[in-house]
Symmetry: C2
Subunit: 405 residues, 2 copies
């Protein structure tokens, strides 16, 4: 195949300023049919595309060829590969939203929060311990934690399972995911600290579209990502807010050894996106052009949860968690959580809920991956509108016991 | 600091189409003075900025806010996070340059070749072996290999040092870096295969600006990166060409667990850059606008090596390697290598060459990090023009024994 220009200009998408119209056409092409299998196994946040289409060029970035050749972004900074404008926009957005304390914190940027999770384990593990440190999280826990902890069979850390069951008198790292993935509940650490425990707070869903913002989180090590805050999962940008300088240094070292820094292009893009989101927070009202990003997110998530609860309530097949009303300081009102995932529990007669739903061409993730039973499944609430409506249709069409009104 | 818009619009760089003039001004700002410490410890490829400035808008990409929200790029592909147009441009460029066989290869994209190196170790390590597999490379070897192999104390693989000294009857992975970092020589595997050996070919410098392209490399697992081919290190995009489907799958799994894919923004940018480079290969001549990227690179590297050899030859302080003339099929002529690093060896009276050069405000990397002695240092040849000229000036000013002509 060499010697001919077989691949010349096969695609020009990256070089041309694509239009919102093209995007909508792409969206239409991807529209699932009534026969399609719908994949709600992943938390792919494509729901947010519709907001960004409406923003048009407000969020467009242009990167010339000579930009970002160097490995270095800010040689004077502890995190030498962090673009200063991303750091500024991260601080600014947290200030607007009020979801995390940023003062006297080091920011470490990562290739998504996944890389930062591993950087945190590396930084918090004693380097010379005779045995790997125990890594625990309260069940149901994020299904990727066990594999992300153990895939390299590290001598520094090892997955030790459900934090509720951890009773060893050994050093440990507890992962506190709040709101929790998969079930959406607000969480605190559960292991009673016997002196050797360290905490990683995975707060990637602590944003107003998912949960009431009750106060700025103020923990030693907190993880966030644009994937869940703005929906830009393909950009692979996460950040950690870290109190302790030495921990931040070790996390930076991990990322240096793992990937020699983080894409500058995506950092610059994330900076622009966060800037537009912060700017939108200054607008009130729900006019098409100026809608506050989080108000948009809250509106869609509230609608989806109402629709889902309505469909579920008419069948005697599944139960959904109930969330308390809490005062959201960002919204200025009492709200309940509208999590990124529905944590469905099947009633008695369905033993394997994932398999049951697969029979209706709905792919979900079984509770067994989250450290609990197969009566539970996690269902993404963040897919595109068409897919979500297919989910509602298929749930409506199931042969359950019609509940007596 | 929260509550006020302290950070509003501190920088607009990412949102505006910066001009080549601004870039030049930035370059001028960064110009080192005669008092500056010059850092040639890293292989930061800023030399290539001047080419990309001259290309102007040819290589500019524009990314609208609604693009690349999904984690997925190509769900039907083994490497599901690989952007199809990047795959096309990678194949097209290798075809033009003739430096690697691409037929019947799987492409796995990574956050730089560093991530792919680790993905390769993960994929090639027996999952159930009682002891970690030995990872070896012939000294002098790339200084980051030991740390990148051992920082997580993996139970799958461990650094086992110089491949020349490896004589265990145990499974091993040999890293073959060709042209070699630090010394620029063409290499082949050195461990005699006793059945349990696997090879990773790190070919990130196998491009015409550095070395004669004698034939398309045709190995099981080959690593490349834009950092060294086009100079875009900040983009963090590398790729692996992999023969075996199961190995490519396991590498993909590693990257899924490590970072859930690779920045789409940077992949799209890399695709555009490679496209422009391939397009430039169709032009001959050295006209400013149409210059072939690799001819440009060869010209600059040849000039720099001539200047460096000239300065070194007038002092009796250092020696440089000599490279054989070989026929470069890309250039259509006999050429010698002009590596990305100068591998300097000091004469007898200088025991610690790194320390000696530091006395002249030249930071380099000692041979001890490459598995050899402190009489050697590695010096980057890829910095900006001003920095390179300061290197020449400082080497010229040293109190050596003037060689008799």
């Amino acid at each position: 195949m060499c010697g001919t220009e077989h691949a010349t200009h096969i695609s020009k998408r990256s070089s041309s300023a694509s239009t919102a119209l093209e995007a909508k056409e792409n969206g239409i092409k991807k529209k699932p049919s009534s026969e399609s299998v719908i994949n709600l196994d992943h938390g792919d946040p494509t729901m947010f595309e519709s907001y960004w289409w409406r923003m048009g060029d407000k969020c467009t970035i242009t990167i010339p060829g000579w930009q970002s050749l160097s490995y270095f972004s800010d040689v004077g900074n502890l995190c030498w590969f962090l673009e200063p404008e991303l750091a500024n926009e991260i601080r600014r957005l947290h200030c607007f939203v009020g979801n995390a304390a940023v003062e006297n914190r080091h920011i470490v940027v990562g290739t998504g929060s996944t890389q930062l999770f591993q950087a945190a384990l590396y930084a918090l593990s004693p380097p010379d311990a005779p045995a790997p440190v125990n890594v625990v999280a309260a069940a149901p826990y994020y299904s990727s934690y066990p594999a992300m902890t153990d895939y390299l069979r590290s001598g520094l850390y090892r997955w030790a399972g459900d934090a509720y069951a951890f009773d060893k008198d050994e050093p440990y790292i507890e992962l506190v995911t709040s709101p929790n993935n998969p079930d959406g509940f607000t969480r605190e650490a559960v292991v009673l600290n016997r002196g050797g425990g360290k905490l990683v707070h995975d707060l990637v869903y602590y944003w107003p579209q998912y949960t009431p913002i009750t106060s700025p989180a103020d923990h030693d090590l907190m993880l966030f990502t644009v994937s869940k805050s703005t929906g830009h999962a393909g950009t692979r940008i996460g950040w950690a807010l870290v109190k302790d300088k030495e921990v931040a240094k070790k996390m930076t070292k991990f990322i240096e050894l793992n990937t020699i820094g983080v894409s500058k292009d995506s950092q610059l893009r994330a900076a622009k996106i966060l800037q537009v989101v912060s700017d939108s927070c200054r607008h009130s009202g729900s006019g098409c052009e100026s809608e506050n990003f989080f108000e948009y997110g809250r509106r869609i998530m509230t609608e989806r949860w109402e629709q889902l609860r309505d469909v579920i309530s008419h069948k005697d097949l599944f139960r959904l968690p109930e969330y308390p009303l809490e005062f959201c300081k960002f919204a200025g009102e009492f709200t309940e959580a509208h999590p990124a995932f529905a944590w469905l529990k099947s009633k008695e007669e369905i033993e394997d809920c994932e398999r049951f739903l697969k029979g209706y061409k709905i792919l979900t993730r079984s509770g067994k991956h989250f450290g609990v039973d197969t009566k539970h499944v996690r269902v993404s609430m963040l897919d595109r509108e068409d897919t979500f409506h297919l989910l509602l249709e298929r749930l409506s069409a199931m042969q359950g016991h019609e509940r007596e009104e």
